[in-house]
């Protein structure tokens, strides 16, 4: 059994494995497929029906279950949703595991998963990632009219 609490190292090794046998473009294909399958009925559905409030609902659930250290702001007047992930539990776990090396670009999978969903719905997705310190800031904005 691979427990859900052991998923992050399994995920990181999966990225290495796919890249090693078929290259970075194959890994990006996997991220794209994962985004389509995994986020279609969750983030995409919520944002389609609730807009930025749907993003708040999605990440409010996921980040609490992942025991993340974060500040999340939904400013509907401004048309902006942001997450300040002070400590990413996933990258944080990988950095703590001294006996294994994380996939060299582990944090790349986040924009690869979420950006296409936001952009398909007409939003502007930006992120600033500090992978070495397991932190990032994600902003999703409504386009200016």
């Amino acid at each position: 059994m691979i427990s859900c609490t052991e998923f992050i190292p399994a995920y990181s090794e999966g990225f290495k494995f796919i890249e090693n046998i078929a290259g970075r473009s194959e890994l990006e294909n996997f991220w794209s497929e994962l985004s389509d399958i995994y986020l279609k009925d969750s983030l995409e559905k919520l944002m389609s029906s609730e807009g930025l409030a749907g993003a708040y609902t999605y990440w409010g659930h996921a980040l609490n279950e992942e025991a993340a250290d974060f500040t999340m702001i939904l400013d509907e007047d401004k048309g902006e949703f942001s997450i300040d992930l002070h400590h990413c539990p996933s990258m944080g776990m990988l950095l703590e595991l001294k006996h294994m090396t994380p996939y060299h670009s582990y944090c790349d999978h986040c924009p690869a998963l979420y950006k296409p969903v936001a952009e398909r719905l007409g939003y502007i997705y930006t992120s600033e990632i500090d992978c070495d310190n397991a932190s990032c800031k994600i902003t999703i904005k409504q386009p200016r009219k």
Binding site: M1, S3, E13, M100
Partner: protein, 151 residues
């Protein structure tokens, strides 16, 4: 919303769904053998400290590991630890149960997340792994880790 890591318990069951998508991707694009190779790579990397401790033949390290992961997973299981063997019996697999609850099908050969992972974990140790029974539908199973007999 502002949260600290200590405000919540780390338990995101949807990771089982992501894991299943990863396994299916490898299986679909590269085949069963590569899926098994991936599981071996993961086990050798992540469970290396347990494999290392197991070389002494002390099953205590495994007993602690399994009690810990099932407790974190909040999953009902019967674990019987003795000096010479460990028996683990479950009525369903937490991964398969969550994947099915979310409307997905477990990856073909999902059994390898047990069989390959734990056989690899026991490599180069005096411990052998046997999966006595595994129900593909539910993941109900009976597993044994036992010390090799000395002659």
């Amino acid at each position: 919303m502002k949260r600290k890591a200590s405000d919540n318990k780390y338990l995101h069951k949807d990771f089982h769904v992501s894991m299943n998508i990863l396994l299916k991707y490898i299986y679909k694009n590269f085949g069963e053998e590569q899926m098994v190779q991936y599981l071996k790579q993961y086990t050798k990397a992540y469970l290396k400290p347990i494999n290392h401790k197991l070389k002494s033949g002390n099953l205590g390290v495994l007993c602690k590991y399994f009690k810990d992961i099932y407790e974190k997973e909040e999953w009902s299981v019967r674990i019987n630890c003795t000096e010479n063997y460990i028996e683990i019996e479950q009525d369903a697999c937490p991964g398969i149960s969550h994947i099915r609850a979310k409307g997905a099908e477990p990856c073909p050969h999902y059994i390898e997340t047990y069989n390959t992972v734990y056989k690899t974990l026991c490599e180069n140790t005096p411990v052998v792994y046997e999966l006595k029974y595994f129900d593909e539908e539910t993941g109900a199973c009976r597993q044994f880790f036992k010390r090799k007999l000395k002659f």
